[in-house]
Symmetry: D2
Subunit: 407 residues, 4 copies
């Protein structure tokens, strides 16, 4: 009888490589590896041989970069979703898509289980597992690092375990920062970052760009367009969203844009400290917002800001495949209908400096805003407005005087 | 019989100077001028002579800088109050205090009216008048520029009107940017800013600092402390809040910090475009937030962020003297009890770069956050947590499968 | 040359009848009357003759009851939109539709102005005018009662004015309650209600139903179904929404359901006191909510409740034709996809008593909820859940102990 | 050497009685029982003998009814805290106080552990444990029913286990509804309630009152006063809060007030169905709200409603001893300063019918609200107000026309 199959989220790194023999040994599964490419820019050549040589029956490599950008990144840009004022959600955005793809392969392969190598302290275990539960409630989830049968607690022990199972790959026993990368961002944790009193060692840490100090001494001017809230072009060239992000990553990285150092609250109740690089994303968020400044009325702006924060929270929590995320996204999308126009800005040593914004749907009206009185705005209206806007304050003050006088 | 008195909010500039004879001519009031010093750094010497020579019976000059900082700025810093993601509320914070002081003088003088020179298109008229209504509902408000008897619609006509009333002062007929300054910030409106498609002419515009391009090529390191959410020292020196702001304004201004270019939604329903300089304030907000990252738990952080936005909205709207502002401030203050610690950062060409944060009340716990399993955190707990955190998603997915199967 | 036309929102009552000659006399317009039937159940026969005999060039009678129910009432039911905990928004829902129809007729007739007879103290002027501004910003709005040319300040003076202009209709000079009625509700203001210390005189006041005291001594059982949040049937009979409301109005009215006595905050800054009868609507809201209890997960329920309150606020404020209303409605609609099922309840003397709820999409799972341990829920999971749910509290408490010990 | 001590939350019922020998057998602890009286109206006489005869070293009986009412109930009344639109939080309010008292006794006794008998599926385990973690992070928590050493899964097995340990008490093997009672409310779960399609068997179920059907045919009129948001008297008699609740429980119970049938979302991710009786509480909430209708301005009312919902959520979640609860309560308390006045209402068969409300701080102003124009309110102000309130809508509509015309 054929063995039951498990789908393993596979990166080619030491952790997920060691899981292959561990799954076979402890669960007697056939192991199908899946490597999902969200733009991590790693060497994927030779990955299939590696997986198979380590005991997997096959490896899927799925390039989902465009789906990632169009279906996961763009809604976050439109929401201006920022977690705890700073984090642009790079890892959070990708996890549900990975879960979805794992489930798709599991269905195709008729697998009974999905295994991931996320740690038991982090948010990613939640994001993977909530995604799988929502899409395939019948599939068993194996979180290798939380499993009682998992006894490997260091890189050395993992390397030794691999060796015992005939896997001799040139993994280094030295750990560096713990990183997660995709087209949108790279995150860094560990080493000196574990002490919030220490400054990050940016020279060693940065991958996608330079520090502001090392960035060029002259600004780079960039122009972007959006249509209905979707980025459409950079510097006059129409591109798909993924290419826009690639272009902005390069420009932003060179100019020291989008480096964030944060102590954040994880879903599991602890604080962690990380550094994020999101060069292109930071530009995209800012450019989109500059356009919204022109286009959204005050009520919509205020509530959308609030909604963006709520959206960030649930994306961070891994609640992508939920009715609430759908409802919030429906709200956001409804506000984007007229977010169309052009934004110009200069990138200079960590700064994104506005250099002009235009939209056919701009609510900015020079004749109203200027100091002269025009047709559309009568100074007298302000009198009535203020009288009613402040009416309850005045009535209240009169009441208080009355009560005071009666005493 | 003595004439009734009007209190005039007086700056010494052309607009409020022209109002003195206008009030006497049109209302037959005795005009008592009040100049309220929130740190605008203008020449106040000779102001009394000017006011009196223009027809005022006297001039009060009130230095309220410390009250401004302690009672109005600090609550906004603690709230991290930012209007529409960018504006640090410099003008908004000062207006209610000015209203309060005008009322105090009005009571002392037994005045029946208060007059201000704010335009009929702006937010300041609202802030002044809501303040006065809430504190002195019986006092008549005269908004000169909205008054039907006010016919002067240019600087030239104001100068001519002054001249006709025997006032020959060296006012220039050329208008520059429209500005509002206090210790916290300076705002700029008008000229090229009236077209959002144009880049601000920073060379002419900036008052408190330099652009990032013109800032020094080497970073400046700064250390600050807070106690219970109140700034206490800079670089090891204890100072009162106003001196901390002065110090940070200098440091921030030199390093190109805190320049904001925004199209914002005014309360009166229009959009306007302005540039704000808030060098010290921007540092203070960021430093305070870095500390809160260490100290506030996730629930509190999330809701406080929301509350800060709401606080910003009502401060912007001029609703300072309202039960809602008091209630929101009570919430914020309650969260500040343990916001105590030290923050270090580097200022460099527009960037505030974190360089270490410490607090005795830090909830960051290295042994929990690190990748090793420790006493306080058991990996197995995550399993249970995720199972319940995702329970409704799983039940829902099962239900959907059941419905699908029944069809 | 043909006269310019004005569209008059016409009810046939004294107020709007007097406006016909007033408009002709003061503006020299051709007056086109429009009576919009949202289910007010008034005598519309003979209305055209009345309008024309009073000087109108014609009268449109538009039956919009179904559009009202489907496009305005249903979204509010789905939102569970209640203003200030009590008011089911009956008047607020209808005003934007009326504004829309007035604009449609104005466009068809090529009119340059629209006139309404709402008072200068109420919310309805806002709702009419915001609707017109949003749909036809170029059309002039005439609010008769706020107009300086309007000098009639009592029913007597209106009757006299009509008489002078050849209109002799049997209007009574005695004023009763001020009322607004449509299919959804009737509101009552004025007379004894103007003193919140007085009990409403329900015997004279009620129109749509009885008091609980006068309701039958035996309960009436009702069953309803919903599909995707839309009411579909009552007691087994499929009906369009308007007929469902008619049916429930009858059942609810007889059983003393949906009488509300409230002091509410108007948009214009004052408090007013009113009594509302919404017999069918109250049932519909409650039935819909009972179904949502079964179907919505906790996160969605919580945020939808909040959104419903926000939706109520903007509907109350007359901001129907705004991007924010559209966005909020998109959120709400997204949550309604699975709000399908059957609700049974008993009506008894003002009470709606639940008597059973069923849905194919119910997330209630007896085996999970019961006291026995089942497959889907492992008691051990709760341990992990609580440990992480309370982790920050515990860490905080430890930190406080540590600080205390260090002192 | 003396044994280590465990504190057991003891009710005298079968479950917690069986835990006494279980704790001694499995943990070798000295068992100190604590019975905390929040007004459950059970027979506490003889409880000490029972506890001791079952193996406890002693029993504390703590009457905390007044602390419960003053420190836990009143803040919830002021917040108008209602969970998921219906549940008045009776159990949720009491749990943190119980946790606090358990910790106090634990400190006094020098105990190392606290044990409770709440089920592994419910909310109460969370509320107890979060309270203990926040107040005594060093104390071990034993949740008997979740413990692997606990093998008793039915009342029969518990009775048998007791017998084996020499405890022969007249416990019935038949289970009734699962109930929780205190002065504020009683909850019912189980039996027919486990199927939401079934009507509750009210005849057997109700404890604190009658159904509306069984209530008297004549209304009972009640008058209450509040001072600064705190209930002070009923029908002219000043009483402490607990006595007010007792009085209202009697009046409300007799008149069929405060029976709620709900399917609610538990914190642990499941739905459960319960019936709550909160006769006095329902009256108190409604009376308090009627007063707030008169006193709170619109902004404060709106935000306080939102805050009340958030307060309800965290109280439900057991997060009483958190900075967030303190901050929310600070907000609420700030709004209560002027919630002073008198409320009259009639209780009639499940209905609370308003019969007049008065307050010295009422913002209701008859001369403003009435249809006549008075001093304080000028109809013309409404014109200006509406023009600015709708300005962005109008500008937007003009812009859309412009874009349409350009196509």
């Amino acid at each position: 009888m054929a063995k039951e199959k498990v789908i393993l989220a596979y990166s080619g790194g030491l952790d997920t490589t060691a899981i292959i023999p561990w799954l076979k040994e402890n669960f007697d599964y056939e192991v199908v590896c899946v490597c999902i490419d969200c733009g991590q820019e790693e060497e994927l050549d030779g990955l299939e041989e590696r997986a198979v040589s380590c005991g997997a029956s096959k490896l899927y490599i799925l390039d989902v970069v465009d789906e990632f950008c169009d279906e996961y990144v763009v809604p976050c840009v439109q929401a201006h979703a920022v977690y705890e004022n700073k984090y642009l959600l790079g890892t959070s955005m990708a996890r549900p898509l990975i879960a979805k793809k794992l489930v798709e392969v599991a269905r195709k392969e008729g697998a009974v289980a999905i295994c991931h190598g996320a740690t038991g302290k982090g948010n990613d275990q939640i994001r993977f597992e909530l995604g799988i539960k929502a899409l395939a409630p019948d599939i068993k989830i194996i979180a290798a690092w939380r499993n009682d049968k998992w006894t490997l607690d260091s890189r050395e022990s993992e390397i030794e375990y691999c060796r015992q199972h005939g896997i001799n790959l040139p993994f280094s026993a030295d750990s560096s920062y713990s990183r997660d990368r995709n087209l949108w961002h790279i995150s860094h944790e560990g080493l000196e970052l574990e002490d919030p009193a220490l400054e990050p060692n940016y020279k060693h840490l940065l991958v996608l760009g330079k520090t502001p100090e090392d960035a060029p001494d002259v600004p780079t001017t960039v122009t972007m367009t959006f249509e209905a809230g979707v980025p459409k072009s950079v510097n006059g060239k129409e591109m798909k969203v993924s290419d826009i992000i690639r272009t902005l990553n390069k420009l932003g990285g060179e100019n020291g844009i989008g480096i964030v150092d944060i102590v954040e609250n994880r879903v599991v109740g602890m604080k962690s400290r990380g550094v994020y690089e999101t060069p292109g994303g930071t530009i995209l968020y800012e450019a989109h917002q500059q356009l919204e400044e022109l286009i959204l009325d005050r009520d919509t702006y205020t509530m959308k800001k609030d909604m963006g924060n709520k959206f960030a929270d649930i994306v961070y929590e891994g609640k992508w495949f939920t009715p609430l995320r759908e409802a919030e996204q429906a709200f956001i999308e409804s506000t984007q209908k007229y977010v169309t126009g052009e934004v110009t800005f200069k990138l200079y040593k960590g700064n994104i400096i506005k250099a002009g914004t235009k939209s056919p749907y701009s609510l900015y009206n020079e004749s109203i805003a200027s100091f002269k009185t025009g047709d559309l705005y009568d100074h007298h209206d302000a009198e009535g407005f203020i009288n009613l806007f402040g009416l309850s304050s005045k009535v209240r003050a009169m009441k208080m005087q009355e009560v005071a006088n009666n005493k």
